[in-house]
């Protein structure tokens, strides 16, 4: 088991004085698939870059530990750590004027846990021609090359930062299937950064939601499912019932009101609501995500 643990301590990154990450404290447990969710501009990519040592935080520290690394180390300018951390971005971060096989050979040389057979199999499945120059590939094939390198590197910390956005639905599904199959084979710490919540949600074990550079919530994904509830009924009764809850959203239609709240409704509360003529419904993960990261709270 070589999976790595990640911690950030008070990490801030600013662009021209504007914080992209704002005093972020978090911990990613080893060997799990973490979903890093957030809207565009929430700081997901900046966080991914800081975790992979592509960027040094303006304040605070990123610490990576465990597996064959042992004690905590910072990834920035640290070859031992960065060879074990694989960040795949849509841009590719690679020279484009060379054939595919050179990019694959480079990854093979740099990645200590590289699996050449797996790489060959994945290149076949995604139908990526080895001798073609990368710049001649379609956007979808470039993305696919990125995910092939990401999976075959078998890096103890692997981060996919929206790297599959350029791929069509069948290719994305192939990516999800291949990633999951290989993760079962070789468990490692995986971060999937995305705003396509519903597409990846079943694959995740943990979820982090970022909003404006801050951590909104971190939780096992199954705990988040069913954490919200929508309460519908006569406005006065709804208001009375939801008084003690964190309200995420409210909508009114005539005398009827629908309020979305955060929190667990135990059976006693459910009975009370039913008695008051209110309807209680669950809130899906995607909706919860939208509410938690919406402009208005």
């Amino acid at each position: 088991m070589t999976a790595l643990t990640v911690r950030t301590e008070n990490v801030s990154v600013r662009f021209a004085g504007v914080p992209a990450l704002d005093r972020l404290d978090l911990r990613l447990a080893p060997g799990k698939i973490h979903g890093l969710l957030g809207r565009n501009g929430s700081g997901k990519s900046t966080l991914a870059a800081a975790l992979a040592g592509f960027r040094r935080p303006d304040e605070g520290r990123v610490l990576i530990e465990g597996g064959d690394l042992g004690a905590a180390q910072e990834p920035y300018e640290n070859a031992v750590v960065t060879s074990r951390v694989c960040l795949i971005r849509e841009s590719g971060d690679r020279p484009d004027a060379v054939p595919v096989k050179y990019a694959v050979g480079l990854a093979a040389a740099l990645r200590p846990y590289w699996d050449a057979d797996l790489a060959g199999d994945l290149l076949d499945r995604f139908e990526i021609p080895l001798n073609k120059k990368i710049q001649k590939l379609s956007r979808g094939k470039k993305s696919a090359l990125g995910v092939v390198v990401g999976i075959a590197s078998r890096a103890p910390l692997t981060i996919f930062d929206e790297s599959y956005l350029g791929m069509d639905v069948p290719s994305r599904n192939l990516f999800y299937d291949m990633l999951l199959a290989d993760y079962v084979e070789v468990p490692r710490t995986i971060v999937l950064s995305t705003h396509l919540v519903s597409e990846v949600s079943t694959m995740l074990e943990e979820v982090l939601i970022l909003d404006r550079g801050r951590l909104v919530t971190q939780s096992p994904v199954d705990a988040l499912r069913g954490r919200g509830a929508s309460i519908v009924g006569p406005a006065a009764a709804v208001d009375e019932f939801t008084a003690g809850f964190t309200v995420l959203a409210e909508e009114r239609l005539g005398g009827t009101k629908s309020t979305t709240v955060l929190g667990d409704l135990d059976p006693a509360l459910l009975a009370q609501a039913t008695a008051a003529g209110l309807e209680i419904g669950p809130v899906g993960l995607q909706d919860l995500f939208v509410h938690l990261t919406g402009a208005k709270a």
Partner: protein, 119 residues
């Protein structure tokens, strides 16, 4: 396949229970491994394992070390008894409420039920 509104592990457990009640999974039959299940339905292996663990706790599945998980011999009876207990509250009562709301006399329902004979 899975919806987003309740924990997936519960949905997995529910699905396997349905297969047992319908007879699609026979008693003492081996069920898919959690990893096969995870790959097939594209879900996190830890989530699948949690769903299966719940079924083991409930006595619906049992483990054979090193081989896999199997349907407990009396699982179907256990599940059917449980569902019978809640049948009227879960199925019949809502139907009667709906019938009253839309104006179907209970006698019409009884007649319809009788047309199935006494199976």
């Amino acid at each position: 396949m899975f919806d987003d509104r309740s924990p997936i592990y519960l949905q997995i457990a529910e699905q396997i229970k349905n297969d047992i009640v319908s007879g699609a999974l026979a008693e003492d039959e081996q069920v898919m491994s959690t990893n096969q299940y995870a790959a097939f339905y594209r879900i996190n292996p830890a989530t699948a394992a949690k769903g299966f663990a719940q079924l083991v706790d409930d006595g619906i599945l049992y483990k054979k070390r090193g081989i896999g998980m199997f349907v407990t011999p009396n699982a179907r009876d256990l599940l059917r008894t449980g569902r019978r207990d809640s049948f009227f509250a879960d199925v019949v009562d809502p139907m009667i409420r709906e019938a009253k709301a839309i104006g179907i006399p209970l006698n019409d329902i009884l007649q319809h039920v009788r047309s199935y004979g006494d199976a």
